[in-house]
């Protein structure tokens, strides 16, 4: 008894899910084609872009400037990388031996004359 009920229920469910077939498939396809917008050509898109507003000119100028800058930078000879600034190291001086400096001097009379 229970199996009979189940079968009936399954049949009713299948019936509710069934989509009614179109009366004419050709007519349906024609209707869909009519509703679809026509595809725009590439040339029409380009023309629209060129006829665009002021922003288009700005974007174009920026693109052109970037392209020119890139070309110039690539054509320039490569520079050596800039070394990081470093404070000049303090000059390393060696202290002169004081005795050697003192030995350069000798006693003198303090005269102010030419060498004879």
């Amino acid at each position: 008894m229970k199996e009979k009920d189940d079968a009936r229920l399954a049949k009713a469910a299948m019936k509710s899910l069934r989509v009614p077939a179109p009366e004419s498939l050709t007519a349906d396809l024609k209707r869909l084609a009519r509703n679809r917008k026509p595809a725009r050509s590439v040339w029409a898109g380009l023309r629209d872009a060129l006829e665009g507003g002021a922003w288009a000119y700005g974007a174009g100028a920026a693109f052109a400037a970037a392209a020119v800058a890139l070309i110039i930078m690539r054509s320039m000879p490569e520079r050596e990388p800039v070394k990081e600034f470093a404070e000049r190291p303090a000059l390393r001086l060696e202290a002169a031996p004081q005795q050697a400096l003192r030995d350069l001097w000798s006693d003198d009379e303090g005269e102010d004359n030419d060498e004879i």
Binding site: A96, R102, D103, W105, S106, E115
Partner: protein, 238 residues
């Protein structure tokens, strides 16, 4: 009027007519610039440096000087035999820079200087603004070479004399120095770095000395230096 008186009168009139015209005295700055630039030709000289310390016997040394336009080499030979000479090679600084420094400290006047090493000279007196005579320079009239320089203390006593005692000008044709000019902080002739302690650097020539220390972030000089030398030792090394 007797004949004798007439003859004396003619002689007195004739003497100035035969006398050489006096050389026009140059301007102080012009002469100082010539002296700082040095001669246009090479020269060879012997220089005597004398130091007069208060209450002590004077000390002296002799230097052989070889000059070329823009560069000077000094070699000091120790009296002891076989001791190596102390050799200094220096580039001359730009005369305008030297003149500006001297003018900043001194009033400069020119007078007749007499003869030094058989050369007629002009004498330049460099006085502090207070009137104290600090330096006297004797400059060769023909070449502009500094022939003699004296430095005085505040009380007017002589502290130092550098004098050319023998000169060959123009000098030997070959004046190419093997030694490179000293690169580092400027020091007066004959002075060397003598040591450092506690941030104070000491320089000496064996008899005199001066120190450079930092006081409140500013370099200060103390010691036996004339004002222009004290200013120059603080200038950055070239």
């Amino acid at each position: 009027m007797t004949r004798f008186k007439l003859a004396v009168l003619f002689a007195l009139i004739a003497a100035p007519l035969h006398a050489k015209p006096r050389a026009p005295r140059p301007g102080a700055e012009e002469l100082l610039l010539r002296s700082l630039a040095g001669p246009a030709t090479s020269y060879a000289a012997v220089e005597r440096v004398q130091v007069f310390l208060p209450g002590k016997k004077p000390k002296a040394l002799k230097a052989e000087v070889l000059g070329a336009p823009g560069r000077v080499r000094r070699a000091v030979f120790a009296p002891k035999k076989n001791a190596p000479p102390l050799v200094e090679v220096r580039e001359r600084e730009k005369p305008e820079a030297g003149l500006a420094r001297l003018k900043a400290h001194y009033e400069i006047a020119v007078s007749t200087g007499g003869v030094v090493a058989k050369r007629r000279t002009w004498k330049l007196e460099l006085r502090l603004k207070s009137g104290i005579l600090r330096r006297a320079l004797w400059v060769d009239r023909d070449s502009g070479l500094l022939m003699k320089r004296e430095t005085y203390r505040d009380d007017g006593t002589l502290a130092r004399r550098e004098r050319t005692v023998k000169l060959e000008l123009p000098g030997p044709a070959q004046t190419a120095f093997r030694e490179a000019p000293f690169a580092g902080p400027w020091m007066p002739e004959g002075f060397s770095f003598a040591g450092e302690s506690g941030g104070t650097r000491r320089y000496s020539n064996g008899l005199e000395s001066y120190e450079i220390r930092t006081d409140g972030g500013k370099a200060v000089v103390s010691g036996d230096l004339a004002e222009d030398d004290a200013a120059r030792v603080l200038e950055p090394a070239k």
